[in-house]
């Protein structure tokens, strides 16, 4: 039973990191209806800046610069690439972000070389043990950060005009412009925010229990895809729910892989995708996503 609880808590804690990454997808999707495949490289960028600086200026300032840096990179992607696209096909833009991702990842991995970079976080490998269940401090921090950020965004989307302008701009840029919405600024802000979120996610993705930031870190962003979709691509609540579901699924499937060995070993990676497919069969727009309009 403790194992189950430990796996469950472990899953929830890594799930909150996925939720943070998924939130980045959601913000951009809400503002532009584009699935941002370059999120992985934003993650690398944020982590890289933090990792390079923490020795000289200390962790918290480095993290702040990292967040700002990733925000700038995100904004730059918007300004240099996304804004220049004149068509209206969101799938095409999604593919463009793949191109951007390749460019950025190549550059960043070239810079990082083969190093494994520590981020110099204050939690180290500290753990907290409650009733025989051990949890890494970093993960508790991640859980809190994810909860906090997601609540903040939920409120911001609901109660400020930012959320409204984002959705309006995403849905119909021309009319949004006619409403006086500054299209450029809205999507610039969304990309910058997504970058900042990526930097935060990168932090929790690379601190203990994982060894540090390195070129393969961006692959972890892949795990947030099922999270984002599962919850609904345009829902902040969905990002949280999806992240947690993916984390728990993965953790349980790994922890009980001996009992599941008839499915072949190592289904930890696969399980979240299977859950995602099941959910989509029942709810094509995810758990909390906006359903497609069906009126003419």
């Amino acid at each position: 039973m403790t194992t189950f609880i430990e796996l469950l808590l472990g899953g929830l804690s890594i799930g909150s990191v996925y939720a943070l990454i998924a939130l980045g997808f959601v913000v951009i999707f809400k503002a532009t209806e584009v699935v941002n495949f370059a999120h992985a490289s934003l993650l690398l960028a944020g982590g890289y800046v933090t990792a390079v600086l923490h020795d000289d200026i200390g962790f918290w300032p480095a993290l702040a610069v990292g967040i700002a840096g990733a925000a700038v990179v995100g904004a730059a992607i918007e300004f240099l690439v996304m804004r220049r696209y004149r068509g209206s096909d969101h799938s095409v833009l999604a593919i463009v972000t793949i191109g951007v991702d390749i460019l950025l990842t190549t550059e960043l991995t070239r810079r990082m070389g083969t190093d494994v970079l520590a981020l110099g976080d204050p939690w180290g490998n500290g753990v907290v043990t409650i009733g025989g269940v051990t949890l890494a401090e970093t993960r508790i921090a991640a859980f809190l950060a994810a909860g906090l950020l997601i609540t903040a965004f939920l409120l911001a989307f609901r109660f400020t005009s930012w959320g409204v302008s984002m959705r309006a701009a995403a849905e119909n840029p021309q009319t949004a412009a006619l409403m006086g919405i500054k299209l450029g600024r809205v999507s610039l802000a969304a990309w910058a925010v997504a970058g900042a979120l990526a930097a935060v996610a990168a932090l929790f993705l690379t601190v203990f229990p994982t060894p540090g930031l390195e070129r393969a870190t961006s692959l972890a962003a892949l795990k947030a895809f099922p999270a984002a979709i599962l919850g609904g691509l345009d829902s902040t609540t969905g990002a949280l729910a999806g992240g947690l579901i993916v984390g728990v699924t993965e953790s349980l499937a790994t922890g009980y892989q001996s009992d599941l060995s008839f499915l072949g070993r190592g289904i930890g990676d696969l399980a979240p995708y299977l859950v995602m497919v099941l959910v989509l069969l029942l709810r094509p727009a995810g758990l909390f996503g906006t359903k497609e309009l069906a009126r003419v």
Partner: protein, 374 residues
């Protein structure tokens, strides 16, 4: 590539012109000659190029077939798919299992049906189609990003099966690919002298691949310009209206998914024949993304776009690596500069971005503009 535009005017709504004048008209176009020269070159390459270049060309042709399929799905119907690599794998492994003999290799008991290889190739394509059909509950229900990421699940499922179903797939080490043979003619590495040139598998396969590409290109073009193509575009542009116009939307979505899977299956068979061994690592997400990049770079929704994009994406790294010594900026690996691998990734990334921003419609549009009006 030439074969795809030879019938440029065939489907046009013009009143029937007597064959003679149409031919004369075509003879006056410079493009006709360009295509003719291109075709001759393509046919002559095996006599001049060495195995490396032929192999590169074969990879490109296989990719082109796969990309045509994806373009039917993503370009024409607006259904984003990131699971294309899965269907390539089904084709490749399907062929191996169907054509291979049962044997023991690297400690794996491999099962195989030992069918004639041509039949196995056909069945492998159908198998890929069937796999696409199995996915149709999802393919017909989801759209856009949701479908894109749902299909990503196929990649992970595929990888899992490839690694774990050892008796079919050979596990991590993959399976040897039985060479194709047709009417007793083997497309294997035994040397055949043709006009003094030793023909090995690459040379022989070249013609098979060229033919396969030509046929699949023409087929897709027919589909796109005909009734199904219009229905697919309608689904992309306005799903509800398409239904009201009498298009069975779910059926077409599932249908084009199956068709696109079959193209991927054919590409997979061809790739397997070129590789001579299937390896699970190959059929990962990166491959799927490459196919998406191909159709965007080449141009969405057209056959020529897929072919041009495929050639670009699969030949670029080979060119850069091969000529890394003579290119400025690019340096040999290990000497500290920009490695060719990195350089080609930069270029490839930039090409995707640039194609979308500056060439809406892709590289083919560029060619069309410089040539005659479509």
């Amino acid at each position: 590539m030439s074969e795809t535009t030879t019938t440029e005017t065939a489907a046009a709504p013009r009143p029937a012109t007597p064959g003679g004048t149409a031919l004369a008209g075509r003879l006056r176009q410079p493009r006709t000659y360009l295509w003719a020269v291109g075709s001759v070159l393509l046919l002559a390459f095996p006599f001049y190029l060495d195995r490396f270049w032929l192999q590169a060309g074969l990879f490109a042709m296989a990719a082109a077939i796969g990309a045509i399929g994806l373009n039917l799905l993503t370009g024409a119907t607006g259904q984003l798919s990131m699971g294309h690599a899965f269907f390539l794998a089904v084709g490749a492994y399907g062929y191996c299992v169907l054509a291979g003999e049962s044997s023991t290799e690297n400690g794996h008991e491999l099962s195989g049906l030992g069918l004639p290889s041509w039949l196995a190739a056909v069945l492998a394509v159908l198998l890929a189609g069937a796999a696409g059909g199995l996915f149709s509950p999802i393919a017909s229900r989801l759209r856009g990003a949701y479908l894109g990421i749902a299909t990503l699940a196929l990649i992970f499922i595929g990888q899992h099966v490839l690694f774990n179903a050892g008796s079919l797939t050979g596990g991590f080490n993959g399976r040897a690919v039985p060479p194709l043979s047709l009417f007793g003619f083997g497309f294997d590495d035994t040397e055949v002298l043709v006009a003094g040139v030793p023909f090995q598998s690459s040379e022989k396969l070249w013609y098979a691949a060229l033919l396969a590409l030509l046929l699949s290109g023409l087929f897709a073009r027919g589909v796109l310009r005909g009734r199904p193509g219009r229905a697919l575009n309608a689904i992309r542009d306005h799903r509800i209206a398409a239904g009201v116009m009498g298009v069975p939307v779910a059926r077409y979505r599932a249908g084009v998914f199956v068709l696109s899977s079959m193209y991927a299956g054919l590409a997979g068979v061809l790739l397997a024949l070129v590789f001579q061994r299937t390896v699970p690592e190959y059929f990962g997400m990166v491959l799927s993304l490459e196919y998406l990049a191909m159709i965007v770079i080449g141009g969405l929704g057209t056959v020529a776009g897929a072919v041009v994009g495929a050639a670009f994406v699969s030949l670029l790294p080979q060119l850069l690596t091969h000529y890394s010594d003579s290119l400025p900026l690019v340096s040999d690996p290990g000497t500290g500069g920009l490695a060719p691998g990195e350089a080609s990734r930069y270029l490839y990334g930039a090409a995707v971005v640039a194609a979308v921003l500056f060439l809406p419609g892709g590289l083919t549009r560029l060619m069309k503009n410089s040539g005659e009006k479509k």
